[in-house]
Symmetry: C2
Subunit: 381 residues, 2 copies
């Protein structure tokens, strides 16, 4: 083979955008999708339908690939470990992915490595939650599921022992491991993307602010409007984590910036991530291209910004059910916006796409991106 | 259908890059490719194999599309006219494409419209060529085939009646219509891209210099290093042509800039074109995206430059047969270069891809792009 065969487990929008980034390299990304109408399956020429929870499907898929990488962290760790033991090349490795799959394990390990993490403790009883709350500033306290949460799922702010009991009961029903976490007096949330090769070479992207709404990232502002010292600290944390877990490809580190500038690690993702969509037009090399370069052990591309201000606004299905595919021409009338649709039908709360704008002034840029995103879901301001 | 079905006749690299540009719009570009290993067929999920010279294949393909557009001008005009008569929507129209298909017709019509074209005359005998040469500065004179030439094919510089006779004999064997054209005292060649909607709205790209080598474009330098008055004139010519022929989608106008600043129309292409590859990273909106927006009658995107200097170098197969797919990682070690491979095996003189670099200084940018292109074909300087 002149060209390596890269396979991505999962056929969502991250695989879709990675597929797009692979075309100029002459690399045909193979995709293991659950359904033929998954975002990446709609655009890819080399799609296998199968589940990431089925060892046989994973094995068959991996056999046709030189390198296997991931669109999500949902494949069971034991299956990934099995594939690796059978000689398949998984990048990132199951060991690195575990940090994204298990938040409690991540918190414990990162804490042990001296990385700044919020105060936290595993909890199984109301008494344990009460004790944790008492020791960490009182109610409300945060409860989280160690595994499986995203976009606000698996996270609860509890205001009383009664609310804690309800979450514990829900956790018990779902077989979840839960932990309590101190409420952070948030100034803002930021994220740092880093791309890394197997040998350890890496490139770090400028810090981006992630504006959350109901636990879901709604907006990215690059560069994040924070003190350069805080930004340098955040980038340094990302580098330390990437080396500590020996990640390959893109890793996203989501961080809390507490009032006063204290930076704490929130979550990590060991794959292209929603907090890096602005890099497609906003940086010299997109996160998707650098993910491919990283997992292929190729030289990484520049992460420099293409404009003084870059804003990405997620297009999230609204209550009116407006369809971005139908509203696309109207949105394109706004000057200089880059629209990315994921090939999904509209549904309230569903991520359907994103819009990126570049310019000299963050306020002006954000206004354009916001306006286009609102038009796309049929709810112009 | 929420999303219009766009079909492109021809499966080469232009269709491949248009396919890539269609993904963020949720538009799945359908491709009519001649072979399963054509550049676009390798990456597309919706490929029909068939010939652009087969009316049945064209008809079947067009039936599955809301809009049909083109990766080349090689489909016979009479077949396109037939499809249009049957009610299929062809953008550009066969009438507009004729200007790209027949150079002599183009010269005559443009001349009649008052557009600046080189002196020319249809020739069928040596006496006619001699008379033309005498009236237009003597030998050498240029002879061209009205149809079918590209990348230097179908163009001859003849230095004597004997050479003219040889070209006439070759033309007679091939059933070609030939014309003679005055040799232009070239300062440089430039190109102007314009994107246009059916209603006439259009956007013009900054003028780019096209550096030719053996009749093939080897390098693009944007903006072209020419007098702003000459550049404005070139852009105005492109606008006049686009309105005169009522083109839809991208049109490229290749122009001669003669010493003294006189601008003459050379050729036009009524589709995305090699002279616009720098727009992928070098402009806010790529030619491929604006081609789609134009043929879909959607608002057109900004053509503004992303950097003070943008250079694209074509990757053309060299004598050593070096394979860009194998040399890609080495080329990516050069900072800030964007490599696009077309999925083709190497062959001397074959266009295998291109490299674009952006920066503040054209010399520095060109050096990086040249170096990456040389590494790709295994012939580093």
């Amino acid at each position: 083979m002149v060209t390596p065969r890269v396979g991505m487990v999962g056929g969502g929008q991250l695989a879709r955008m990675t597929y797009q980034a692979a075309i100029p390299f002459g690399v045909t990304l193979r995709v293991l999708a659950e359904r033929a109408d998954d975002g990446a399956a709609l655009v890819g020429g080399d799609v296998e339908i199968g589940s990431h929870t089925d060892l046989e499907a994973l094995r068959r898929f991996a056999s046709g690939c030189d390198v296997v990488t991931f669109d999500h962290e949902l494949a069971p760790p034991e299956l990934l470990t099995q594939l690796e033991a059978e000689g398949h090349v998984l990048r990132p490795s199951p060991a690195a992915m575990r940090f994204a799959q298990d938040k409690l394990w991540q918190r414990d390990r990162f804490g042990a490595l001296g990385l700044p993490v919020p105060a936290h403790a595993r909890v199984a009883t109301v008494e344990e939650v009460e004790a944790f709350a008492r020791a960490n500033g009182g109610w409300p306290t945060v409860m989280k599921a160690a595994r499986g949460g995203y976009d606000g799922r698996g996270v609860w702010a509890v205001r009383s022992p009664e609310e804690a009991a309800a979450v514990l009961a829900e956790g018990a029903r779902g077989g979840l491991t839960l932990f309590a976490e101190a409420t952070v007096d948030l100034e803002r949330e930021v994220a740092v993307l880093i791309a890394r090769r197997p040998g350890g070479q890496s490139v770090v992207y400028p810090v981006v602010e992630t504006v959350q709404e109901n636990g879901m990232c709604r907006e990215l502002v690059a560069p994040a409007p924070i003190d350069p010292v805080v930004a340098a600290h955040a980038r340094n944390i990302a580098e330390r984590i990437s080396d500590a877990i020996d990640v390959t490809g893109i890793m996203a580190v989501e961080l809390f910036v507490a009032r006063g500038g204290v930076v704490l690690v929130n979550e990590i993702a060991t794959r292209p991530h929603n907090s890096g969509h602005h890099t497609i037009e906003g940086c010299v090399t997109s996160q998707f291209e650098n993910h491919l370069r990283g997992v292929l052990d190729w030289p990484l591309g520049s992460t420099a910004a293409m404009a003084p201000a870059v804003v990405t606004v997620n297009v999230v299905g609204g209550p009116s059910g407006g369809d971005p595919r139908a509203n696309l021409p109207a949105a394109l009338a706004i000057p200089g916006v880059h629209v990315h649709l994921y090939g999904k039908g509209p549904r309230p709360g569903r991520k359907l796409g994103h819009v990126t704008a570049l310019g000299a002034d963050a306020g002006e840029v954000r206004e354009r991106a916001d306006r286009a995103a609102a038009i796309l879901v049929g709810e112009p301001a």
